[in-house]
Amino acid sequence: MTGDMPGPLLDIAELAKRFTVGARQGLLARATSFRKPVAPLPQLHAVDEVSFTIGRGETVGLVGESGCGKSTLVRLINRLLDPSSGSIRLGGAELADFKARTFASNPHRARIQMVFQDAGDSLNPRFTAADAIADPIRRLKKMSGAKLTARVEALADMTGLPRELLSRFPHQLSGGQKARVGIARAVAVEPALLILDEPTAALDVSVQVVILQLLQQLKRELGMSYLFVSHDLNVVRLLCDRVLVMYLGKVVEQGPAAEVFADPKHPYTKALISAIPQAEPEQRIGRLRLGGEPRSPIDPDPRVCRFYGRCPKGTPRCAEEMPLLHPAGPARQVACHFA
């Protein structure tokens, strides 16, 4: 580790996670089936060969509907879950080499942290705000005593949390205050990459503004990169430099946020953007209504495009050849035969 490392902060390559579905055969069945081969169990492809990078100081947005694999991807990156295959490189270190179970004691643990969607749920009901913020510092930075208290107070100041609230329990705090505690805890160990999982979903719009501006400020001050997962495309548009669109475990489009929103190329992205509510709907460019339900993520046919069937376009080619991500402009990629 000599000098300043060039290259992206986070480099994800061919990352995949498959879950086995259905009950395993019991001991007796397995023992008595020595004649017939045991059929392979169906696999749910939650994340399917995903590749992307996050640069230093960059905010990358991740959007997609529920069930697209966002949450699984997030858990793979922050190492709470082990991948089935693929690589997760953080500043050159291959994190996929380490097991999730023991990652808590890994020296790289402090480099990736997360702000949770439901701040209330992510705070231990029996810990005060101070305890919650102090926990990672105690565990990962081995600080204690007066030094720890000073650090906790500094973090409270940094996140706009009044010091008197540090001795309160989560149920005594408002939504905005809980969000600040969650943020203070996440940045306490000065991570290089901060994952934000819908951090303002449960907040009123006026509180949301303050929290988003705080996040922007902290990013600059502490030199972090952000992975911003959200349903709210308007917020993604505001905050993110680049955006990734996921569908059924695959990245279907990626590029600079402003461009993707102004000129979406993948039909799913078009549908997503055209669904954002606005006061003057006639001004909307190309309304695309998406009916139906997504295809099953269990043992999907590798030749068929995941969006086939729901896509307004849909040719026989889409059912025979899986579209791969290909360049569609400088810094843009789309996975569609028609883009």
Partner: protein, 322 residues
């Protein structure tokens, strides 16, 4: 415009008795919804929008009490009706759908039967032909493969589908008024668009009046005819959606718009709203509950709020509107 509105709420005030005092949750709330019209009740948490709906439906928490007002619906005052009469109205003439569709459905009863239940109770169907009518409703809310889906339990269905089931239950008896309490919060934006279109279409077909409760101004503007903005238990402004976005007249509405992403170009341009909600337990609440944090406050603002008409169907409760 001389037709009797489907619902007319007048001077509604609601209090909650809590361990730490009496909370004056709603004060002098009044608005109306015409037949076939969609009105959005928009506000942040604590604005009282859900309480208004619960009060009209008669499903307020036990600690809640309506201290004044009327809710005229179908020639009767809903707030004065006894529980039995109210129960007759609910489901038949007056219906509601809730947030979190999966939890609002009975988890251990097949969805087809849940729709059939309403048809039997209020729609005059018999136990034997209700299931068929239920499948017809499923077709109406565009659930694919309705005969099979009618046998499903809520946990087997996605959020969007559960919400369609709720809509089917709510509209089974063709009510005159539908109240939708944040029906798309938690749903994906694509599903949200489809559900909103569906409600709009079914409402239009039946000439049904709809009250739509949400915190999302843009959603309200796109799908509703009029928006009623609430703040701390008061109605501060009411206007057609487009008019509100173009010309907000109440300082709070303007600030709310300025804080909503989507209308702004950059994060720096977004402005938060200074101050916070007043403590509604205070005995000395000012006449205008926004005045404590309003930069346009005048001495006059200590007086009871006016109702100023500032445009076509555009009313604002402010002494110093923009």
């Amino acid at each position: 415009m001389t037709a009797v509105p489907a619902l007319s709420v007048e001077d509604l005030s609601v209090e909650f008795r809590t361990r730490s005092g009496v909370v004056k949750v709603l004060e002098h709330v009044g608005f109306s919804v015409d037949k076939g019209e969609t009105v959005a009740l928009v506000g942040e948490s604590g604005s009282g929008k859900s309480v208004t709906a619960f009060a009209v439906m008669g499903i307020l928490d036990a600690a809640g009490k309506v201290t004044s007002g009327r809710a005229l619906f179908g020639g009767a005052d809903l707030l004065a009706l006894g529980e039995h009469d109210l129960a007759e109205q609910r489901g038949r003439e007056l219906s509601m759908i809730f947030q979190n569709p999966r939890t609002a459905l009975n988890p251990i009863r097949r969805v087809g039967l849940q729709i059939a239940d309403v048809l039997v109770r209020h729609g005059g169907a018999t136990r034997s032909d209700a299931p068929r009518a239920a499948v017809e409703m499923l077709k109406k809310v565009r659930i694919p493969d309705p005969e099979r889906r009618a046998e499903a339990y809520p946990f087997e269905l996605s959020g969007g589908m559960c919400q369609r089931i709720m809509i089917a239950i709510a509209l089974a008896c063709r009510p005159a008024l539908l109240i939708a309490d944040e029906p798309t919060t938690g749903l994906d934006v694509t599903t949200q668009a489809v559900i909103m279109d569906l409600i709009g279409e079914l409402a239009g077909e039946a000439g049904m009046a709809t009250i739509f409760i949400t915190h999302d101004l843009a959603l309200a503007a796109e799908y509703c005819d009029r928006i009623v903005v609430m703040h701390a238990g008061h109605i501060v402004e009411a206007a057609p959606g487009r008019e509100l976005f173009a010309h907000p007249r109440h300082p709070y509405s303007a600030k709310l718009l300025a804080a909503t992403p989507g209308e702004t170009v950059s994060l720096e341009k977004l402005a938060s709203i200074p101050g916070g909600l007043p403590d509604l337990r205070r005995p000395d609440l000012p006449a205008c509950r926004y005045s404590d944090r309003c930069e346009r406050r005048l001495d006059q603002c200590a007086q009871p709020l006016p109702q100023r008409t500032v445009g076509e169907r555009h009313v604002v409760a402010c002494w110093n509107p923009l």
